[in-house]
Symmetry: none
Subunit: 142 residues, 2 copies
């Protein structure tokens, strides 16, 4: 056994991100063949790149994914516990959880990336490179 699940490292992620920015999303093979990112993705395939990108793109729309613990949807209940308490008026909509974007001014460009905490700005990059008219993330962005 050697590698069952090779987790993506920051280096690989960065290479992928840069490749998408440069070549555009949808040109995995091109990125992989580039001598600039080739050494960084020596163990990755075009499919892997696409998969990673796809996985990274989840939640770019409106999916507010807050780590809300203490929630158990309990499913099939072979042993109906019989809950004679239909008073279910809990649900406190307090989780607005609006993804606050940290100062994303267009004129704010003093420096380049500084340890990106989250890949939230990925959409922006994809939009910039969407000029390829390849119909990639148009659906996700709009």
């Amino acid at each position: 056994m050697g590698n069952q699940k090779q987790k993506w490292t920051a280096e690989e992620e960065d290479a992928l991100h840069r490749g998408v920015q440069k070549y555009g999303a949808g040109k995995w093979k091109n990125i992989l063949k580039d001598p600039e990112f080739a050494p960084s993705l020596t163990s990755r395939s075009n499919i892997d790149l696409k998969d990673k990108w796809r996985n990274l793109n989840v939640g770019t729309g409106q999916g507010s994914n807050v780590k809300s613990r203490t929630l158990k949807p309990k499913l099939p209940a072979p042993c109906a516990v019989t809950t004679p308490d239909p008073t279910v008026q809990d649900v406190a909509p307090v989780q607005n959880a609006t993804p606050k974007i940290p100062s994303q001014n267009s004129s704010e460009k003093d420096h380049d990336v500084k340890v990106p905490p989250r890949y939230n700005g990925m959409i922006f990059e994809a939009l910039s490179t969407i000029q390829d008219a390849n119909g990639s993330d148009m659906n996700a962005i709009c």
Copy 2:
């Protein structure tokens, strides 16, 4: 809150064991879909099978098993210096029982050796009680 955990019964365990022996570990869906074990695991999901098997396999590690508990490395150590490791030592020629039915074109093509890079080397665990004397886990991501 009324969350009953359905414990695994001998029937289910036996079915799982047999399925692993027959199909091999990693084909949970296949086992679950088999008419032989399907009725036994009608209330189990592939994920459940995997989880059960994993939980059952604990203890084979023996010794060096430092499980850092109470520690949550939110961000993986960014190993900037990812030395390219072109160690191509995988290749596990294992017969795959995949019903690869050539949709159309039944022409005998010789270059059909296409052996899926599926590493399967965990079927012996069901036969031997004390197997795997090392259990070297190269979990080192960096």
